[in-house]
Subunit: 413 residues, 2 copies
């Protein structure tokens, strides 16, 4: 189908979706989950085609692992859809303002309309994004990568079938099957039909979408996160935090990429901590002082400070004080998640107020930046921009506001 | 000064502003008001230069009236700054979430950083925008039109002087004095220094900024607003509402531009209402049915439905039912403010839910769409977009969110 036709149908469907009750949307989510289960065989066999094509192209094993679907991943997709039904519907919630002239102003949350998602790799995003957009009353246009096109086709056709059983119009969930560059560019220019575009993927994808889109964009998920170990830190705690932040899941955006250590504790902290990290398989890249304290590791280059490794690699830098740590973070960080380990009240406050990021932690791992961990139930991504949403984006962030004003003949003086 | 240098200084100043207490910002607002009063003579004489230049260029009297400063307009500028001091500081306000693992998550409002305002005509915007941005902890870069350059220079230099007395860094309030096209374009591309851009002015300006800016934009103030008179309307009320919406201040964005009337009441309603509008000096442009009921007026062209007149002109159309009214509004409207006059509960609900606009009214004039009228105290404009802010934008909309997370060693499983 022509991409403009997809946009038009999505817009039309969004007008129907906006008026659906929470009950109907929840029923649709259950039907979508069931339909996904029933199509398991087709989806897994489509996924095998993608895996075979990836192997042929010589894709890395790590990337192939991200593409791969299996029974347990399928199960978590269906459970994700069912779990959305349990969350409160954000649509129609809001506040009431009564004005002295008698006007009743309702500030209510309403769906955006049509949300476009441009993403790479993991096919579970297809189902997660479709579910969360529908729950918030939005049509979704999915534009996945070429590497998962067969999986995505099979997943979307199952989702559409399920949603249809609950009376959801077909245009509500669409996949752009044309995986050429032009289809993504067209999606970025369809202001007429698309209200919001969310790119999910690597820094290159995010940057390309931001630079080219005339549709409003929310940037997500590039995480060059730091852990700063202050002079006063509990060093045992600091060690556990950096190990967790770096190694518990190195391929995700809230993993730490650089360790900063106050010079007063570097001599004591680094040997034990870096040794523990190495034992977990972490490759270290140090500033000159780090290399002196902990010889035999690779020296860090200027590029290392700006790098989001998404891998078992950690840059390490000794700083002369908290100011240098904060300046380093504000210069090289991606405004995602930043942590200080400290026992000092003033240092904690200074770090919290001066670090410019979506999530700033005292004495906890950066890995908690996540809609589930924050108690939002579901998320569409982590926004690293300041407009509209910052940090984990839950259902409410997929809505906009509409003022409904009830009067009995008021006119303005 | 070089525009990139202005950007850099604004960014640096924003880091200081973000940490200022409400008391200091309020003191600055009072100092700015006082400084503005003291510079009254210089400002009025600079304004005279602008007026003379405007006359020389043959600008219309209506436009010259908008440029003109006088004692009472100066007084409302200084009072506006003082009034901001009385409003609650949005910075640092927020909610607390306690998680089962012991983490305390504070969702707090923080300043954006640097806000750019590109605007036309009225010089009071210079002072209003500087005040509201400062109150919300943001640096502001002002880029007014060539027609008010002398007034703006005098106003900004007084504001900077006053702010300085309260310890506000100089970069916090800047005016781009270079009024060439390139300076506006540069401002639209300074993602490094500018966090948010708000264009204020006509549809052409808003469109140009949206199309060219790589800095995030909030579109404001284009208002093609409608009043729809339903079959069941109290016709006397409807007459008062359309007269108010059209004539109380025709040059503003929340004024009505088109009247839609249900065919069942058109014959009864239109002669009296249109006659009353004509007596107020309104030029009418009607659909064929309107011209038949009320002969002698100009026929409306297709362009009239899309036009924001900002003048004493009103397009009038008879519709066959509420569906046609809603479709007309969603097709030609600018998603600003829309009103229905009705006694029917179902019609009211349908209009509220299906009209896609920032503010939707039942039985009240569209003219109430305003930060002051909504009880927000001050506003920087009316957003007609869905991302971040929609409708009147108060102080809170000039902030973003930052999550501050306090732990005692939590790591993620």
């Amino acid at each position: 189908m022509d991409i403009w036709e997809i946009g038009k149908r999505a817009k039309e469907a969004s007008r129907v979706l906006a008026e659906l009750s929470g009950d109907v949307k929840n029923r649709a989510l259950f039907e979508m989950a069931e339909s996904l289960s029933e199509a398991k065989r087709e989806i897994l066999s489509a996924n095998e085609k993608d895996i075979a094509a990836a192997r042929e192209k010589g894709m890395s094993q790590a990337l192939i692992d991200r593409l791969k679907l299996n029974e347990s991943r399928m199960l978590s997709m269906t459970r994700g859809l069912q779990a959305l039904a349990d969350l409160p519907d954000p649509v129609g919630q809001g506040e009431v303002i009564k004005r002295p002239n008698g006007l009743t102003i309702m500030r209510t949350h309403v769906p955006f309309g049509v949300i476009g998602i441009i993403y790479e790799a993991r096919p579970n995003v297809t189902s997660d994004a479709a579910g969360i957009c529908l729950k918030a009353g939005n049509s979704v246009i999915l534009r996945g990568g070429s590497e998962t096109i067969n999986s995505n086709k099979a997943i979307v056709s199952a989702l559409v079938l399920g949603a249809k059983k609950a009376g959801i119009p077909e245009g509500a969930i669409s996949l752009i099957e044309d995986i050429g560059h032009e289809s993504a560019m067209a999606l970025m220019k369809m202001r007429e039909y698309v209200d919001l575009l969310i790119p999910r993927g690597g820094a290159g994808l995010i940057k390309a979408v931001s630079a080219n889109s005339t549709v409003p964009v929310i940037e997500t998920g590039v995480g060059n996160c730091h852990v700063y170990v202050d002079e006063s830190a509990d060093l045992e705690m600091a060690k556990h935090i950096i190990i967790n932040a770096k190694t518990s899941r190195p391929s995700v955006c809230n993993a730490a990429e650089t360790l900063l250590v106050h010079k007063a504790v570097a001599g004591k902290f680094l040997p034990e901590a870096l040794n523990a990290l190495q034992q977990k398989g972490v490759e270290l890249r140090g500033c000159p002082e780090t290399c002196q304290i902990f010889p035999g590791i690779k020296p860090a280059s200027e590029e290392d400070w700006a790098e989001e490794y998404l891998d078992l690699i950690l840059a390490v830098k000794v700083v002369k004080n908290i100011d240098e740590a904060i300046e380093h973070i504000n210069r090289y960080g991606s405004s995602h998640s930043e942590a200080i380990v400290t026992k000092n009240y003033d240092s904690a406050n200074e770090f919290l107020s001066r670090v410019d990021a979506a999530c700033v932690y005292v004495n906890a791992s950066t890995r908690f930046t996540d809609g589930g961990e924050f108690g939002f139930g579901a998320e569409i991504g982590i926004s690293t921009q300041k407009l509209h949403a910052r940090g984990p984006m839950g259902l409410k962030e997929l809505t906009t506001v509409k003022y409904l004003i009830l009067g009995d003949g008021q006119i303005r003086e």
